[in-house]
């Protein structure tokens, strides 16, 4: 499968900008050195720059945040808020005060469900999600709808796996209270027309939440242009640390939210007994407890790392790998790809192989140093509608190259022969 000359030129340029050498696990660890890591939709490896930032945060700058009156505490607080500013620029928000540090995309979405929707939903209201949502953007809505007697409405998919907006009749109707959509599906790899949905929703005054967990690392993204009200993602899927994520909430929406967690640092005045307490202004109201400063700094370092390569370029690189994977996998007898040629490529390929269970595919691949995922990918509603129990999935990141794709295709073909 020779690459075109154009592709090869791009690839050469790319690999002088970034390579496995920048990622300690892939470069020099016993378990990772020879690994073709293609489970990036689950979590990505960390460049040295991010690991070093975390290290430095603990070794040179560590201190309580927003609480101390000594120079170290001032410096740490400054760095923490600087990280918020970096991430503000990264997503194009109008103000840093619209960014809330959470533990993860999952917490971000639960915060909106419990802190915003709970007080607003009434029996008969509708919350809209799509058929392709990750459980993190499905279960919180299912739970709050159950509690409030609201309806959980599903945007179904067209035959080629895209949002069937035409069939979602009441999406912008009078009972629609919130639309919660992923920007890129973690199974299909589809990119959804978020901007269009936001524009239509805004015209009817319906807020939109965007699950950007799979997109933020490689799609140029600007929340103001996108027009969304909420946007959620995790650091660990964008080359950053675990245990930290973000919720963007437009100022107006942020004003309407109640905290998910209450505790230290977020209260202004504590009422006696059960007299109401008052919360502080700004995003700190949603960050109860001691701040995760090293996490925030690592998060911002990951954003810087992405910006240094450019999301446009990263996206191109991932699309090339995805295209290559589709071509090579497509040649294996019995393979079924879950995405259609009519849908633009992103960074994910899901597939099944006739007669071989996806778990066996992943296991055989694993034994051959190719790390892919098998299962329902936390998207049971989607898999059920496709009448599948599980699929195999390969997903790409900046450090992957064509040799990873080739190893994948070989491993799948080997599995076919093993079980054939």
């Amino acid at each position: 499968m020779p690459a075109t000359l154009h592709d090869m030129n791009l690839a050469t340029q790319w690999h002088s900008a970034v390579s496995k050498h920048d990622f300690p696990l892939l470069h020099s660890s016993a378990l990772g050195r020879n690994l073709h890591y293609l489970d990036n939709a689950a979590t990505s490896h960390k460049p040295k720059a991010v690991i070093d930032t975390i290290n430095t945060a603990y070794s040179e700058l560590y201190s309580p945040i927003h609480r101390g009156l000594y120079p170290l505490a001032e410096a740490a607080t400054e760095a923490y808020e600087q990280a918020r500013l970096s991430l503000q620029a990264f997503i194009g928000a109008s103000a840093a005060d619209e960014l809330i540090f959470t533990r993860s995309a999952t917490e971000s979405i639960n915060l909106v469900a419990q802190g915003w929707a709970r007080d607003r939903l009434q029996a008969g209201d509708q919350v809209w999600v799509s058929r392709m949502e990750h459980h993190a953007n499905y279960l919180p809505w299912q739970r709050i709808c159950q509690e409030k007697g609201a309806e959980l409405k599903i945007i179904e998919l067209t035959a080629d796996g895209q949002l069937d907006l035409a069939r979602a009749e009441d999406l912008y109707g009078p009972r629609s209270r919130l639309i919660a959509l992923c920007q890129i599906s973690n199974v299909l790899g589809n990119e959804n027309p978020i901007q269009q949905v936001c524009a239509n929703a805004q015209a009817q005054g319906i807020p939109v939440l965007v699950d950007a967990a799979q997109s933020v690392s490689h799609l140029p993204l600007n929340v103001v242009e996108l027009g969304c009200d909420f946007l959620a993602f995790s650091a660990h899927k964008m080359y950053g640390p675990n245990g930290i994520g973000l919720l963007y909430a437009r100022a107006e929406r942020l004003q309407e939210m109640q905290p998910l967690l209450v505790g230290g640092g977020m209260v202004d005045e504590v009422g006696e007994g059960i007299a109401a307490s008052s919360w502080i202004d700004g995003p700190g109201r949603f960050e109860a407890g001691s701040q995760n400063m090293p996490g925030a700094l690592g998060f911002a370092a990951a954003a810087d790392f992405i910006e240094s390569l450019g999301r446009e370029r990263i996206h191109q690189h991932l699309q090339q790998l995805t295209r290559h994977a589709r071509t090579l996998l497509g040649q294996i007898p019995g393979i079924r790809l879950l995405t259609y040629d009519s849908v633009p490529l992103s960074s994910i390929v899901s597939f099944t192989l006739d007669g071989v269970h996806p778990h066996d595919l992943a296991q055989v691949a694993g034994e051959r140093q190719v790390a892919i995922r098998a299962g329902h990918h936390c998207a049971q509603p989607l898999l059920r509608s496709l009448d599948l129990d599980a699929t195999a999935r390969a997903s790409f990141a900046v450090y992957n190259d064509r040799s990873d794709v080739e190893a994948l295709a070989e491993a799948i073909d080997y599995a076919r022969r093993l079980f054939g």
Binding site: H359, D360, Q363, G375, A390, L418
Partner: protein
């Protein structure tokens, strides 16, 4: 194709390709039919127990369903291992199997009957334990209903 570091030992592959006691349609005439499902993996099986008249012995176990090779092979091995044993023995073996897989560093089953020893390789893959144990758990649930 036997590979020392592979899960896919010959015995396992043999049971997967030609499972013992597997029905294609419904399980007919069994004393107890019990489902075992793991929605997280999509493994979904049904086992049928045929007991002796006094209900002290498991004459045969049949199964049907779908799952990965480990699930199917382990279920096949299970049916082979327990058919013809006293219920008491089956309970003991079932407990031992679970013990064996939950303490992967622990002791081995003294004398694992039939082909069960071939599952040893799976113990190194905690993520697949559930695939092995699914049928044993269904078996225990079935025995609890006697």
């Amino acid at each position: 194709m036997e590979n020392k570091h592979s899960l896919y030992k010959d015995t396992l592959m043999k049971h997967y390709r030609q499972p013992h006691n597997k029905c294609e349609g419904e399980i007919e005439g069994a004393d107890i039919v019990q489902r075992g499902a793991n929605p997280r993996c999509g493994d979904d099986i049904e086992i049928g127990l045929y007991l002796d008249q006094k209900h002290v012995q498991v004459d045969q176990v049949k199964f049907r369903g779908r799952g990965c090779s480990v699930c199917i092979a382990a279920t096949s091995m299970m049916t082979q291992a327990v058919s013809g044993r006293s219920i008491e023995d089956v309970r003991k073996l079932s407990a031992e199997m679970r013990e064996w897989f939950h303490n992967s560093d622990g002791h081995d089953i003294a004398d694992p009957p039939d082909d069960l020893q071939a599952l040893d390789a799976v113990r190194e893959y905690p993520a697949r334990r559930r695939c092995v144990l699914l049928s044993w758990e269904a078996l225990t649930d079935a025995l609890d209903r006697i």
